[in-house]
Amino acid sequence: MEGVIVGGWGYVAAAWGISLGLLLGWAVVLNVRLAAARAAAQDEGATDAG
């Protein structure tokens, strides 16, 4: 049909891939940093208690 965009799955894949990649990447960074911060707080607490 005239005027209709044909194909374009590459653009769809790029939009989804980049979005999910950013979400996943940020989630991993956040959780790793949080685990490290909690571990550091616990170590500090154990040192102070000792």
């Binding site: 005027g3 209709v4 965009i5 044909v6 194909g7 374009g8 799955w9 653009y11 769809v12 790029a14 939009a15 989804w16 980049i18 979005s19 950013l22 979400l23 940020w26 989630a27 956040l30 959780n31 940093r33 949080l34 911060a37 909690r38 707080a41 616990q42 500090e44 607490g45 154990a46 102070d48 208690a49």
Partner: protein, 228 residues
């Protein structure tokens, strides 16, 4: 397990379901064909960027009134999520613009105000990172958020106020029901994931600040210790 993980899991499952529906089951858009499926990730991202920015604005006022580390941490969480979602929606929009408008970018009112929003919220995160004093950091972040938020209603209304390449508001009455379903599913998915990310960032902000961290082996604050 931190209780917000249930929201994250629900968001992830909804995102998988909404994406499968939008990519494989919903019909192609009448003129854009399959490229129109970007709608199902772009619009939920945009809605939630504006919604969480509004939450940040409310929390900023609360932070100025309450002056507590928890309010500042909550503000940090919503700011980071707003910045992330705004970057995502700008990238999605650029990818969608190329096959439909012929260019990745245009200094169109909706695009320009959205870019200003992204730069403003990312700038607030940079401002936070540059300040060592927790009191000053909390005050400047809250005031900066209130100023940055001025752009958010302008982003929303830009397609009404100016002539723009961006399409106008769609309503359930103007689109096929099969297109509304994945749109709504992914809207809730992005909302749940956005809240999850905001709470994780708030916990990290509190933990790194060291606020309310006692000298006991584990923190008594449930937000830090993960017993909330």
């Amino acid at each position: 397990m931190d209780r917000e993980h249930w929201l994250g899991i629900a968001g992830l499952l909804l995102l998988i379901g909404g994406s499968v529906f939008g990519l494989l089951i919903a019909p192609p858009e009448k003129y854009m064909g399959d490229v129109g499926r970007i709608l199902y990730i772009h619009v939920p991202t945009a809605w939630n960027a504006l919604l969480i920015a509004t939450a940040a604005f409310v929390i900023a006022i609360g932070s100025l009134v309450k002056r507590s580390p928890k309010w500042d941490a909550a503000l940090h969480g919503t700011l980071a999520t707003t910045a992330l979602l705004t970057v995502m929606l700008l990238i999605q929009g650029a990818i969608w613009a190329k096959p439909t408008w012929g260019v990745y970018w245009d200094w169109d009112p909706r695009l320009t105000t959205s870019a200003i929003m992204g730069v403003s919220f990312a700038g607030l995160l940079a401002l936070r990172a540059s300040l060592d004093d927790p009191e000053r950091r909390a005050t400047w972040t809250a005031v900066g958020t209130i100023i940055a938020y001025v752009d958010v209603p302008i982003v929303y209304m830009s397609i009404k106020w100016w002539r723009t390449l961006h399409q106008n508001f769609s309503t359930p009455e103007t689109v096929n029901e099969m297109m509304v379903i994945p749109l709504r599913i992914n809207a809730f998915a992005m909302l749940f994931i956005g809240i999850w990310l905001s709470v994780r960032m708030a916990r990290l902000s509190l933990a790194e600040r060291g606020a309310a961290v006692p000298t006991a082996p584990a923190s008594a604050d449930p937000l830090i210790a993960g017993r909330a």
